[in-house]
C-alpha cells in the first residue's frame, strides 16, 4: 500500500524544520532558551514524516480565520 504523507492532508498545517541560524534568530527575537519553547513529541505523525530529531525546532504555519496565518514554533522532545 502506498504510504500517505500526512503533511499532504488539508487539515495538517505546514511543518518546517528550522536550521541553526533560524533557531538562533528565533531565540534571540523572543529572548528565550530553547527549553522555553512549546514542545512536540518525537512520535508526532508530522515529526516522524519530517524525520526531525529531539532538539530540532519546527516552524508551524497554520491558516487563521482572523489573520492570514498564525505561526508557532515547537521543539521536538522525547515523549
Amino acid at each position: 500500500m502506498a504510504r500517505y504523507d500526512v503533511l499532504d492532508h488539508e487539515l495538517v498545517p505546514e511543518h518546517v524544520v528550522l536550521d541553526d541560524d533560524e533557531v538562533e534568530e528565533l531565540l534571540e527575537r523572543y529572548d528565550i532558551k530553547k527549553t522555553d519553547l512549546p514542545k512536540i513529541g518525537r512520535l508526532d505523525a508530522a515529526v516522524k514524516e519530517l524525520d526531525a530529531e529531539p532538539g530540532d525546532v519546527l516552524k508551524i504555519v497554520r491558516e487563521s480565520w482572523t489573520t492570514d496565518e498564525a505561526i508557532a514554533y515547537r521543539i521536538v522532545v522525547d515523549e
Binding site: 523572543y30 527549553t35 522555553d36 519553547l37 489573520t67 498564525a70 505561526i71 508557532a72 522532545v77
Partner: protein
C-alpha cells in the same frame, strides 16, 4: 509600625524529613504528663500546656522568649514515644522502600548497571524538570522483580501492605521497630538512585520515635462563659497519645505478655495516625465526646475551609459590606446606591493637607453620627483617636489651631480647648493627620456578586448615599452580575489606597465593561421593560405633543426638542422615532435587522425607519450599543445606555403595559381550529402505530423500526403543537402585550405564548417521549405497550386551560429532568471552571505579544494566535475595513466636531 526591610529573593527551597535529634533540639521541653492544668488553674510543668510552649493568655510573658501573647509565636515540645510508630503520611514510601530493598542486607535490589541506569534517568528528569517520582516508581518496579538480592543472594519475600500502617512480610507482621532497623541499614548511595537525598531525609526518620508537640499557640484552649476550659482537638489527641504511651511503658516494665504489648502498640499507632490525619481510609476516625470527628493536623490544611484555600488564597477582609440589592432606574449604570447606615460605618482614609483641611475638618466636626462625618482621626505621632459626638467639635478645633498655640498633648476626651492667641505663620496642627471619613457621594467602590465567574462580576461604581437598607443598582447592570431582586445580596469593598483607586477607576468602572471580552458585544444594555418601552415608542408612528415629548425625555440628558415633525391644530408634535433619535450620537450611520423583523436605518444620528428593540439596544445583542461603544467611546456609551433606559421607562409608562390571563384568551373558533389540528395529529399517530403493527412501516436509513416510528410520531405531534402556535399567533393581536414582548425580544418567546394559549405539547425525558414507569407502560391508567400520544406524555391542553392529572404528571416528569440537569450542570461546571482558572491564572500577555507562564515558557507566540482583542473586534472580524473607510470618508466630507 513594622519597618520595611530589603526584599530578598528565595534561591532554592529544600524539603526533607526531620530526624528525632532535630525534634529534640528544637523542643523546649519534654512532655511527660497528660494533664494540662492543676486544681488552681495553673499549667502543669512538662504537661501539655507547659508555660514554656508559648503564651495564649493576654498579659502573661512567655517563659521561653519573654515576649507577650500575640508576639510570641510559640515553641515546640516533644514526646518520647515508648515504641516507634509509622508516620501515616509516608505509608506509601515506606511500602516502596520495603519492596525495593533486600530483606537481609537492606541494599537496593538493583545491580550496579541498573543503578547506574536509574541514576542517569534521574539526572535527565531533573534537567527536563519532569516528575522525579516517576523514575523512583519505575526503579522500585524493576527492583521488585528480583527474586534474590544481587548483593547478598538472599531470597526475597513479598511485602504486603495493610492500609494504612501495617506491613506483612511473608505473612509475618513487620513491627515499626523492624522496619526502622532495616531502613537504618540502607546505604546512602542506594537511596540516591531512588532520588532520596540521605543527608536531608534518612528513611528511618519516617518511623517516629519522637513526636513533636505543637506549641499552645497552635492549639489554644478557650475559656467558656461558665469559666470552664475547653481544649483544642489537637490537645485532646495529644492527651490520648501520652496516656497510651505511659500505659505502654508501664506494661513493658511490668513484663506484660507480648499480646498486650502488641495491642498497646497498635493503639499508640492509631492515636498517632489520627493525630496526623483523621480522615484516612481504613482507620476509623477519632471522635470528640460529643460525637463530632476531631479536626486534626491534615484536616486543618485540606479542603475549602482549610489553611490553603480558606486562610491563604482567600480570607475575610475589612472595609467590606454586604446587603440585599434592589433596583433603582434613576441612578446611572456607573453608580450604586449605598444605605446611609453603611456609609457611616465604612470609611476612607484621607491625609490632611493645606488644600483640603477646611473640608476635612468639617467631616470631623460633624462626628460619627451625622452622615458625611468621620469616625477616627490619626495624629501625626501615630495615635489614633475615635471621634465621638462629645469630642468631635474639640477635635475639629484642635486640628485648625496653629502648631504650638494650644495644648497639643491633651489625651483626655473631655479636655476643653481654646484657640489661643495664634501665631499666624504656624501651620494648623491638623496638617499631616489622617482622617477616616464616611463614604460620600462620588467615592469609588468595588461591587461584587457571587459566584464571581467573570471579570464583570466585580466592577467599580460611584457611591450615591441613600436612605433605607439596600444597595441600589441600575437594572441594566443585572446581566453582567447575573443579579435579580428576589433576595440577592451583593458585596461592596471600599478602595483604600490612591493606587487602588486609580486602577479601579480606569480599569474597573462599569462603563469599561459594557463590551464583553467573551464575544465582543455589549453585555450591558436594555432589558425587559426597557425593550418593550423602546418598541412601543418606535414600532408604530406615535405622535407626542410638547409636554408629552418633554415628559419622555425628562430623565435623559437631552434638554432641548428639535423642530417639530407635525403641526396639528397649531400644536407642535413629534414622532417616537424623532424622540429616540435625540439620544443617538450625531453622525451615527447604521443599518441592521431588528428582532421584530424590519430593517433599522440610522443616518447621521437620525432613526429613519425600523423598530428599536432587543437587537438594537438589548444586552448581549444590541447593535447600536456595540457600535456606539466602538466608535464614540465608553463615556458616550454609558450616557447612551442611561438615556435609553430612562426614555424607555418613561415611554412604557406613557403607553401603559400589563399582561394578564385574559391576554391569552383565544376566540372560540381558534380553540376549535387548534383542537382539530391536535385530533388530526393524534389520528396520524394512530395510523402510524397501525402501519407499524401491520409491519408495513418502512424504516429510515440507520434506524430500527421502533426508532423510525418514534421519530415519526414525535414529528407529527411536534407539528400539531406548531400549528397550534400558528393559530394562536394568528388570533392574538399585534398589540397584545405577550406578542409585543416576544416580538421585541423583551421577554418570552412565541413558544411560551403557544404553550400558554394553545397547547403545551409533548413532554420529554432524555430527549424521548416518556416511556418509563410501570412495566411496558408509563402509568397504570394505560394498557401495556400503548404507544398513543396521551399514553406517552403528550399534553394537548394549554397552561391557561389547565392540565389533566395525567398530563400534569408527565409535565412534572419533564420539569424534574430540567431541574436535575441545572443542579448537576452548575456543580460540574463550577469544578471545571476552578480547575481551568488554576491552570491558566499565571498566563500573561507580554509586551512582545507572546503569552507566557510564570516560568517564562511561551504558550502562544501571539496572543490568541492573532493578537486581536475581542472587545475591539467589530462583529467577529478582526478589522472591518469597509466600515472604517466609510467613516473616514464621511468625516472628510463633513468635518463636523465630535458629538455635542
Amino acid at each position: 509600625m513594622s519597618q520595611r526591610t530589603t526584599p530578598k529573593t528565595i534561591e532554592t527551597i529544600e524539603f526533607g524529613l526531620m530526624s528525632p535529634e532535630e525534634y529534640r533540639n528544637m523542643s523546649v521541653t519534654k512532655i511527660i504528663t497528660a494533664d494540662t492544668y492543676d486544681d488552681d488553674g495553673f499549667p502543669i510543668d512538662m504537661g501539655l500546656m507547659d508555660p514554656r510552649l508559648g503564651v495564649i493568655d493576654p498579659g502573661l510573658q512567655c517563659k521561653t522568649c519573654g515576649k507577650r501573647s500575640g508576639r510570641c509565636e510559640g515553641h515546640f515540645g516533644h514526646i518520647e514515644l515508648a515504641a516507634p510508630v509509622v508516620h501515616p503520611g509516608f505509608s506509601k514510601l515506606i511500602r516502596r522502600l520495603l519492596r525495593g530493598t533486600c530483606h537481609d542486607c537492606a541494599r537496593l535490589l538493583l545491580d550496579d548497571s541498573q543503578q547506574e541506569e536509574y541514576r542517569e534517568k534521574l539526572e535527565t528528569a531533573r534537567e527536563l524538570e519532569e516528575d522525579v517520582s516517576d523514575v523512583m516508581k519505575s526503579a522500585i518496579r524493576s527492583a521488585r522483580k528480583a527474586g534474590t538480592c544481587p548483593h547478598c543472594e538472599a531470597e526475597q519475600k513479598d511485602v504486603k501492605h495493610d492500609k494504612p500502617t501495617t506491613y506483612y512480610e511473608d505473612g509475618q507482621k513487620l513491627m515499626p521497630s523492624d522496619i526502622r532497623d532495616r531502613f537504618e541499614r540502607i546505604p546512602d548511595d542506594d537511596l540516591r538512585v531512588l532520588g532520596i537525598n540521605a543527608d536531608r531525609a534518612r528513611p528511618e526518620w519516617m518511623i517516629l520515635t519522637v513526636l513533636p508537640v505543637p506549641p499552645v499557640t497552635a492549639r489554644p484552649s478557650i475559656t467558656l462563659d461558665s469559666g470552664q476550659r475547653s481544649e483544642d482537638d489537637l490537645t485532646h489527641k495529644l492527651v490520648d497519645i501520652i496516656r497510651i504511651n505511659q500505659r505502654f511503658m508501664e506494661n513493658r516494665e511490668a513484663g506484660s505478655p507480648q499480646l498486650i504489648i502488641e495491642d498497646l502498640w497498635e493503639l499508640l499507632q492509631y492515636h498517632v495516625t489520627t493525630f496526623v490525619d483523621n480522615e484516612i481510609s481504613g482507620t476509623p476516625p477519632a471522635h470528640h465526646r460529643s460525637g463530632r470527628p476531631l479536626k486534626t493536623l491534615s484536616q486543618r490544611l485540606k479542603g475549602k475551609e482549610g489553611r490553603f484555600r480558606g486562610s491563604l488564597s482567600g480570607k475575610r477582609v475589612n472595609f467590606s459590606s454586604r446587603t440585599v440589592i434592589s433596583p433603582d432606574p434613576t441612578i446611572s449604570v456607573n453608580e450604586v446606591g449605598v444605605p446611609e447606615e453603611i456609609a457611616k460605618e465604612m470609611t476612607l482614609k484621607v491625609k490632611v493637607t493645606e488644600n483640603n483641611i477646611e473640608e476635612i475638618v468639617e467631616y470631623v466636626r460633624r462626628g460619627p453620627e451625622d452622615h458625611p462625618g468621620a469616625n477616627y482621626v490619626k495624629r501625626e505621632d501615630g495615635r489614633r483617636l475615635k471621634v465621638k459626638d462629645k469630642n468631635a467639635e474639640a477635635l475639629a478645633e484642635r486640628m485648625l489651631t496653629p502648631e504650638g498655640a494650644g495644648p497639643m498633648a491633651g489625651e483626655g476626651d473631655e479636655e476643653e480647648e481654646e484657640a489661643g492667641a495664634s501665631d499666624d505663620d504656624a501651620d494648623p496642627q491638623g496638617l499631616g493627620w489622617t482622617v477616616e471619613r464616611h463614604l460620600t457621594d462620588g467615592d469609588v467602590v468595588l461591587f461584587n456578586r457571587q459566584p464571581s465567574l467573570h471579570r464583570m462580576s466585580m466592577m467599580a461604581h460611584e457611591v450615591v448615599v441613600m436612605p433605607y437598607k439596600t444597595f441600589r443598582l441600575n437594572t441594566t447592570v443585572c446581566p453582567p452580575y447575573n443579579a435579580d431582586f428576589d433576595g440577592d445580596e451583593m458585596n461592596m469593598h471600599v478602595v483604600q489606597s490612591e493606587e487602588a483607586l486609580a486602577e479601579a477607576e480606569v480599569l474597573m468602572k462599569v462603563q469599561e465593561h459594557i463590551l464583553s471580552p467573551r464575544f465582543g458585544g455589549p453585555i450591558i444594555g436594555a432589558i425587559q421593560d426597557h425593550i418593550s418601552g423602546t418598541y412601543l415608542l418606535t414600532h408604530e408612528e406615535e405622535l407626542f405633543d410638547e409636554s408629552q415629548a418633554l415628559d419622555l425625555l425628562r430623565k435623559t440628558s437631552v434638554t432641548e426638542l428639535p423642530e417639530a415633525d407635525e403641526e396639528i391644530d397649531g400644536d407642535e408634535h413629534w414622532y417616537g422615532d424623532t424622540v429616540f433619535s435625540l439620544l443617538l450620537p450625531d453622525g451615527l450611520d447604521m443599518e441592521f435587522e431588528s428582532s421584530a423583523g424590519d430593517t433599522v436605518v440610522i443616518e447621521d444620528g437620525e432613526l429613519l425607519e425600523g423598530t428599536i428593540d432587543e437587537d438594537a439596544v438589548g444586552s448581549f445583542v444590541g447593535e447600536i450599543v456595540e457600535t456606539v461603544a466602538k466608535i464614540y467611546g465608553m463615556d458616550r456609551t454609558a450616557r447612551f445606555i442611561d438615556d435609553v433606559s430612562s426614555l424607555a421607562i418613561r415611554s412604557i409608562m406613557h403607553f401603559g403595559f400589563s399582561f394578564g390571563i385574559s391576554d391569552e384568551d383565544l376566540p372560540e373558533e381558534a380553540r376549535e381550529e387548534i383542537d382539530v389540528g391536535i385530533e388530526e395529529a393524534e389520528e396520524e399517530v394512530e395510523r402510524l402505530i397501525e402501519t407499524y403493527e401491520r409491519g408495513e412501516l418502512e424504516s429510515l436509513p440507520g434506524r430500527s423500526l421502533e426508532e423510525t416510528l418514534e421519530m415519526k410520531i414525535m414529528q407529527a405531534l411536534g407539528k400539531a403543537r406548531d400549528s397550534a402556535g400558528e393559530i394562536a399567533e394568528q388570533y392574538l393581536e399585534d398589540d397584545n402585550p405577550g406578542v409585543v414582548m416576544a416580538d421585541s425580544g423583551a421577554r418570552g418567546s412565541m413558544l411560551n405564548l403557544t404553550q400558554m394559549a394553545g397547547c403545551v405539547g409533548q413532554q420529554a425525558v432524555r430527549g424521548e417521549r416518556i416511556n418509563r414507569g410501570y412495566e411496558n407502560r408509563t402509568l397504570s391508567h394505560f394498557k401495556e405497550d400503548d404507544l398513543s400520544a396521551d399514553a406517552r406524555g403528550f399534553v394537548r391542553h394549554s397552561y391557561k386551560e389547565g392540565l389533566e392529572p395525567r398530563e400534569f404528571f408527565f409535565h412534572a416528569m419533564g420539569g424534574r429532568e430540567g431541574l436535575v440537569d441545572t443542579a448537576v450542570r452548575t456543580s460540574k461546571s463550577g469544578y471545571l471552571q476552578r480547575r481551568l482558572i488554576n491552570a491558566l491564572q499565571e498566563l500573561e500577555a507580554q509586551y512582545d505579544g507572546t503569552v507566557r507562564n510564570s516560568e517564562n515558557d511561551i504558550v502562544q507566540f501571539e496572543y490568541g494566535e492573532d493578537g486581536t482583542d475581542p472587545m475591539k473586534m467589530p462583529d467577529g472580524d478582526a478589522v472591518d475595513v469597509d466600515a472604517i473607510a466609510d467613516r473616514v470618508l464621511d468625516a472628510d466630507e463633513a468635518p463636523a466636531g465630535g458629538d455635542d
